[in-house]
Symmetry: C2
Subunit: 482 residues, 2 copies
C-alpha cells in the first residue's frame, strides 16, 4: 500500500470498539461517545460480551461475530484479555480478512516491563503482523482525525460542540499519552481553541512509529504543520533524516525531552527509549530547520501560531503597544531573540502615526516601537496597527493592549478581529490582549475568527522568534539572502 | 510622622473622590463602586459640580464645601482642572487643615512631556507640599489596601465577591499602571485568585516613590512579601540599599525592565527613568538576595508562591508524577535550576512507595523521581505524596497529575487539598494539575483552601528555584551552611 497501511486509522468505513461500555466513568464509554460527538459517518460497532446494547447501538459479544465489515479495531478491554481478543481476530481474519488497523489504547503491555506485559504485546503484534494489520499503541490514548471526523480517544476533548471535527492544519504525534491528553484538553480550553488536524498518541510504538506517521503526514495534503513530543527513538539517525526532509516542506516543531541526565533516565524508565546525547539532537535540529521548543507552554503557543498566523517574510518587527510597561517588557523580550530586529519604518508612516495619535504618544523612540498610550481609543488602536502593517519595512507586528475599563471592549475586539482577518494572508500580527477574565470575551471573539491572541508579551515574542527562525531556514534553503 | 505620612493612604477615615461620576463607563464611577465593593468603612465623599448625588451618596461641588473631615483625596478629574482643584485644596487647608494624602489617578501631567503637563504636575505638588500632604501619582491607577478595605483604583478588580478585602501577605509596587492593572485583573482570574495585601500603582512618583513605600512595607506587620515592577529610579544606589536591607527580613521580588538597550530607551520614553546598566542591577540583586524574575508570568507565579507556599528549608526536591511525559519534562526543568537537587529518599520510604503503588510504578530511577503511573487511584496519589513529604531527606515536592477521565476528580481535589492544608506549615508542595478546563474545578477547590496550583511542570520548577535561591540567601546570611 502506498500509504503504508495508515489510511485505516484516518478513513475507516467502520470501527469496532472492543471493551465498549455504558458506564460513563469507563474509557470504553468515552470512546463511543467521542465517535458520536465528532460525527463519525461510518459504522460504530461496540463489542462487549456483557452488554446487549451500548449507547443505543447493538453490541456484539465477540469480534468474530460482527456481520458487517470491520476496518478498524479499537481495543480498550483490559490487557489480560488480549489472548482471547487476538484469537477472535485470528478467527475473523481467516474467514473475512477485513481488519486493516488496530488502535490498542489499553495499557499493561511492554511498558510495565514484566514478562507477562511483554508476552501480551508480542501476542498483539504477532497476530496483527500475520494478517498485515497495522497497530497503533499499545498504551496510547488513541487517534483523532478531525478532517475525517474520527475520534478514538478516551479523553474528554472539551472542544466546544460547534468546533468538533473542525480541522486546522496542525498534526501532532506524541510519545506520551499524558502529554497528548493534556495538550488536547488544554488546547480546547483556550480562547482560540487549538484545532488539530490529526492527533496521534503512539504509546509503546509496538508497530506504527514516528517514521510511519511522519511519512504519512509528509504527503497528507491537509497537514500543513507537524509537531512532535519525542522522548527517544531507537534509530535516531533515520528519524532525523525523515524530519530533515519534511522540514524543507512543512514546519516541524519538536519538544524533545531527556535533555538532562536525570531526564534521560526518566525517559528511559518511561518508554524504554534512549534519549541520546541531547547536544547532538540540538545541533541537528538547528541545522535541519526543525523548530525545537523548550517548554510545554512554548509547544502549545508555537503549534497554534504556525497553524494560524501567517509566516513572517522577514525579521523586521514592529512593536505597537497601548500600555507602557508591557511595551517595555515586549521590547526587552525582542532583544533576547537575536534573529529579530526592530523595524525602521518610513518617515511617511511615522508622520501618519503622529497625526493619528495623541501628541504625547511615543513614536519610534526607540526605532520599531510605538506607545499609543493608555488613552488610545478603539480607532487609535486599529488605525495605528494598520498604518504599521502597510509599511513595507515591517514584516511582523507585536500588538499589545491592556484594555482599560473605559474602552468599549467588544467594539475593540470586533474591529481588531476584522483587521486581523483582512491581513491574515499578508502579514502576521501577534496580538497580546491583557488581562485575565477581563478580556476573555475579546480573546474568544478573535479566536472564533480563527486567529489567536497571547496572554503576555514575552510569549508572543518567543513564538515570533520561532517563526522567523523557520522563515530564515526556508529562505536560505531556497538560496535566498537575508 | 514615623510612617512618613503613608498611613493616610491605608487607613483614611474618609475619602473624597474628585471627579466622581454616575456614568458606569467613567473611571470616576468605578472608584466609588470599588470602595463600596471592598466594604470601605469610612466616609466616601463624591465631588463633582455637575452632580447632586453619585451612586446614592450626596455629592459636593467643591473640595472646600465638604463639611466632614477629609483625610484622603482621590483625583480622577481631568488634569486640565488641576489649578482649580488645588485652589480648593489650598482654601480648605487654610481653614480645616485635614487632608493628609492625595492619590492623583488622572493622567496628563509630567508623563506627557509637555510644558503644560509639567506645569500641572508642579501645581499639584507645590500645593500639596505647602500643606504637608503626601501625593501618590499622578498618572497611576490607584491604591488597594485589602487589609484595611480601601480600594481607590479605577480598575475592575474581577475579584470574586467573597474574596474582596481578603488580604494575603504580598504587597506590590508598580511603576507602570498597565502592568499593575493587568496583574490585578489576571491575578483575580486565576484558579487561586491572587490576594494582594497592599497594591500600589505609583505612576510618575511625583512625591511618594519606591523608597517611601518600601520603608513603610518594611515595617508593615501584615506585609510578608514585597514585589516590584521597576523601570528605573533616579537614585539607584539608595533604592538598592533599601532593597538590600529589606531582603534580609522579607522576600523582595522584582521584575526590572529596560534590560536591553532598546528596552532601556523605551523605559526612558515611558517614565523618563534611566534604566541604568542592567548587568549592575543583575549582580547586585543576586548579591543582595533579591529575587529577580524574567517575565510577567514568572512574576505572577513567584508572587503567589512566596505568599502562599511555605519556604523550602533546603534544595532537596522530589518529583512525584502520575504522568510519564510531564514527569520527564519536570525532571529536565529541575536540572536547569542548578540550585536544586534531586532528593535521595530513604530505603524505608522507597519500600513504602513500592508497597503502595502498582508493581510497574517507577520509584527512584532516577533518584528523586517517582512515576506512580496513569493507573494511579486517588489513594495512590495522596498516600505516595504523604510518604515523600514524611521523608526527612525531602525539602520540597513537585507533584504532577494529568487527571484521567476515569478518576473521580472532585474526590482527588478534596483529598489533595486536605493534604496540602495539613502540610502547609511544614513542607512545600508545588502541585501541577493538568489540563485546561478539565481540572478547573479541582484547581479552584485547592485555590479556595488558599493554596495554589500550576499549569505546567516548568512553571512550578521555576518558582521552586526562586524560593530555594531565597532560602539559600537567608541561610548564608544567618551563617548557616548548606
Amino acid at each position: 500500500m502506498t500509504d503504508n497501511g495508515m489510511q485505516a486509522f484516518f478513513t475507516p468505513k467502520s470501527i469496532a470498539v472492543v471493551g465498549a461500555s455504558n458506564n460513563p466513568d469507563k474509557p470504553g464509554s468515552t470512546i463511543v461517545e467521542n465517535l458520536f460527538k465528532i460525527g463519525f459517518e461510518g459504522a460504530i460497532i461496540p463489542v462487549n460480551p456483557k452488554e446487549e446494547e451500548v449507547h443505543g447501538l447493538k453490541c456484539f459479544s465477540g469480534i468474530d461475530e460482527i456481520p458487517e465489515e470491520v476496518e478498524l479495531l479499537v481495543l480498550i478491554t483490559p490487557s489480560g484479555a488480549i489472548d482471547e481478543v487476538m484469537q477472535q481476530v485470528d478467527k475473523r481474519m481467516a474467514s473475512r480478512n477485513d481488519i486493516k488497523g488496530i488502535i490498542c489504547a489499553a495499557a499493561g503491555y511492554g511498558e510495565i516491563n514484566t514478562e507477562e506485559g511483554n508476552r501480551r504485546e508480542r501476542t498483539l503484534l504477532d497476530t496483527a503482523n500475520k494478517w498485515d494489520i497495522r497497530v497503533i499503541g499499545p498504551n496510547c490514548i488513541g487517534v483523532i482525525d478531525n478532517a475525517n471526523r474520527v475520534d478514538t480517544t478516551f479523553v474528554e476533548t472539551l472542544m466546544p460542540e460547534e468546533l468538533r471535527g473542525e480541522a486546522g492544519g496542525l498534526s501532532f504525534i506524541s510519545q506520551s499519552g499524558a502529554v497528548a491528553a493534556s495538550l488536547l484538553m488544554w488546547g480546547a480550553s483556550l480562547a482560540s481553541p487549538l484545532k488539530f488536524n490529526k492527533f496521534l498518541s503512539i504509546g509503546n510504538m509496538g508497530d506504527v512509529d514516528f517514521i510511519d506517521l511522519l511519512e504519512y503526514l509528509e504527503k497528507d495534503p491537509v497537514t500543513e504543520v507537524i509537531a512532535l513530543y519525542l522522548e527517544g527513538y531507537p534509530q535516531a539517525g533515520k528519524l532525523l533524516k525523515t524530519m530533515e526532509r519534511i522540514a524543507k516542506k512543512k514546519p516541524v516543531i519538536v519538544l524533545k525531552v531527556g535533555r538532562s541526565e536525570a531526564g534521560a533516565k526518566a525517559a528511559s524508565s518511561h518508554t524504554g527509549s534512549l534519549a541520546g546525547e541531547d547536544v547532538i539532537y540540538d545541533n541537528l535540529f538547528k541545522q535541519f530547520g526543525i523548530i525545537r521548543v523548550g517548554t510545554l507552554e512554548e509547544l502549545m503557543d508555537t503549534m497554534q501560531a504556525f497553524s494560524i498566523i501567517p509566516l513572517p517574510r522577514g525579521n523586521q518587527t514592529f512593536l505597537l503597544s497601548q500600555a507602557g510597561g508591557p511595551g517595555i517588557i515586549g521590547t526587552d523580550a525582542l532583544s533576547f531573540e537575536p534573529q529579530l530586529s526592530l523595524a525602521k519604518i518610513s518617515q511617511t508612516t511615522k508622520q501618519k502615526l503622529k497625526e493619528e495619535l495623541v501628541p504625547f504618544a511615543t513614536v519610534c523612540n526607540p526605532e520599531g516601537v510605538a506607545d499609543i498610550t493608555a488613552s488610545a481609543t478603539v480607532a487609535h488602536h486599529v488605525n495605528s496597527l494598520e498604518m504599521v502593517l502597510e509599511d513595507i519595512n515591517v514584516d511582523a507586528v507585536i500588538f499589545i493592549t491592556v484594555v482599560p475599563t473605559f474602552l468599549p471592549k467588544v467594539e475593540l475586539g470586533k474591529q481588531v478581529k476584522e483587521l486581523l482577518e483582512k491581513w491574515k494572508d499578508q502579514k502576521p500580527v501577534f496580538p497580546v490582549i491583557m488581562a485575565g477574565k477581563w478580556v476573555e470575551e475579546v480573546r474568544t471573539m478573535i479566536g472564533q475568527a480563527n486567529y489567536m491572541t497571547f496572554e503576555t508579551p514575552e510569549r508572543a515574542v518567543k513564538v515570533l522568534g520561532n517563526m522567523v527562525d523557520y522563515y530564515n531556514f526556508q529562505n536560505q534553503a531556497r538560496g535566498g539572502s537575508h
